[in-house]
């Protein structure tokens, strides 16, 4: 099933771009006014990832007709294209593309209005996930939508902030970098556990029998949870060890960036696992 693998690959990349763009929009809304030398490169990352995200979500959308046919030429089948267009996938695609376009259009502007528009764009692009898949089709859709929104919104904030934090430690003064890392950590301390809690409640709602954890979908869920546990450990390391040392120890910045790079790679792995999981498997399989 090469077309399915291609779809999963493009979906994975679109996840990375979308969460990066949305996360930078949220980061800039929160901390943009405290950035000086790092402001331009941080906003550039937001812009580039938003533009890449628009291209990738559009590519993924165009592959859906091909997936229905089981082969690439199916992407050009008018009846299958109409089927996709009539499905919630088209609404999700539009919401994602518009959301990312709002991020791209606003991220380079330093006004409060632009920051608000960026956050709205981030929310829109992330909330599109609730329009498709098992969240949309479940009886408890309202709860799942809220939980999924919280789950993914905090993921975006966390993932999307890591590159800006790396840039901050390179471009800003040691004191400014330490203050920004500390400010981020204070918020993350309260919000990041919500990722796990929301995820657990969603699993409790979606998974109907324990035997699913012996199957592909369940094994990937366990892998995600394990990845999250490692991530929390790394985040704790950054908050309590490397972060506070940034203001006083030059070498701390290098250790911090190395730790953040590992965090970033792990979250990428979790996002890719999620893209694969939602492409090929379901809680019912």
């Amino acid at each position: 099933m090469p077309v399915d693998f291609l779809s999963a690959f493009v979906r994975s990349l679109s996840f990375l771009a979308l969460f990066q763009a949305g996360g930078v929009a949220i980061y800039v809304a929160l901390f943009g006014r405290q950035l000086w030398s790092a402001a331009a490169p941080v906003r550039r990352i937001g812009f580039l990832s938003a533009v890449a995200g628009i291209a990738l979500v559009s590519m993924h959308y165009s592959l859906e007709a091909a997936r229905m046919a089981g082969e690439l030429p199916g992407a050009f089948d008018p009846s299958l294209q109409r089927l996709v267009m009539d499905s919630p996938m088209s609404a999700a695609w539009v919401l994602r593309a518009v959301g990312l376009a709002l991020v791209a259009a606003s991220i380079r502007n330093q006004s409060k209005l632009a920051a608000a528009i960026g956050v709205v764009g981030a929310v829109a692009s992330i909330q599109a996930f609730s329009l498709v898949g098992h969240t949309a089709s479940h009886d408890a859709h309202a709860w799942l939508t809220a939980l999924l929104g919280l789950h993914l919104g905090v993921v975006a904030f966390w993932f999307g902030s890591l590159l800006p934090l790396t840039i901050v430690t390179r471009r800003e003064s040691a004191a400014t970098a330490a203050a920004l890392v500390d400010a981020f950590s204070q918020l993350a301390l309260w919000f990041v556990p919500a990722i796990f809690l929301a995820g657990v409640v969603m699993i409790a709602i979606l998974v109907r029998r324990w035997s699913v954890f012996a199957q592909s979908y369940g094994l990937l869920l366990i892998a995600k949870a394990a990845g999250f546990a490692v991530l929390m450990a790394m985040a704790a390391l950054n908050k309590w060890r490397y972060g506070p040392a940034l203001a006083t120890t030059p070498a701390a910045a290098i250790a911090f960036r190395r730790s953040v790079a590992v965090e970033y790679a792990l979250i990428c792995a979790v996002l890719v696992a999620t893209a694969v999981m939602t492409t090929f498997f379901s809680p019912e399989q």
Binding site: M1, I26, A29, L30, F31, E64, R67, M68, A69, G70, E71, G74, S79, L80, L83, S87, P88, M89, V119, V120, A122, V123, I126, Q127, S130, L131, V132, G133, H134, T135, A136, S137, H138, D139, H141, A142, L144, T145, A146, L148, G149, L150, L152, G153, V154, F157, A183, L187, W190, F191, A194, S282, E284
Partner: protein, 117 residues
């Protein structure tokens, strides 16, 4: 202040979605792994909800690739019937893809054998 901004942004994520049922294949004719004395005249797929069949292929053991079966029903139904040209004896695998009312893309395979006369 920042806590309130982030909390407000989190609250914005709580938006209601749409409700749809989940579809799955209930039964098929020929049944999976069945042995038939003669070629079937049609394939029948029974789903739990009205479903649109988007692709159907058939491949005989030993063939390099499968063939697409044309003339698929255009309208969704929970009982889909597809006429089949006579098949020679041998082992076959039928691949199907379908989209349910919940827009969930499903796929599966069915194996059957037609015994030589």
């Amino acid at each position: 202040m920042k806590f309130r901004v982030l909390a407000a942004a989190s609250a914005l994520f709580a938006v209601a979605g749409t409700v749809q049922a989940h579809t799955h294949l209930v039964s098929a004719t020929p049944a999976d792994n069945s042995v038939l004395a003669s070629s079937p005249t049609q394939f029948m797929l029974h789903f739990s909800e009205p479903t649109r069949l988007t692709a159907l292929t058939i491949q005989k053991d030993g063939d390099k690739e499968g063939k697409h079966i044309e003339g698929l029903p255009k309208d969704p139904s929970d009982a889909l019937s597809i006429p089949v040209a006579p098949l020679a004896p041998g082992r076959y695998v039928v691949g199907w893809r379908a989209v349910g009312d919940d827009n969930h893309l499903m796929s599966g395979t069915l194996h059957f054998t037609i015994t030589a006369k």
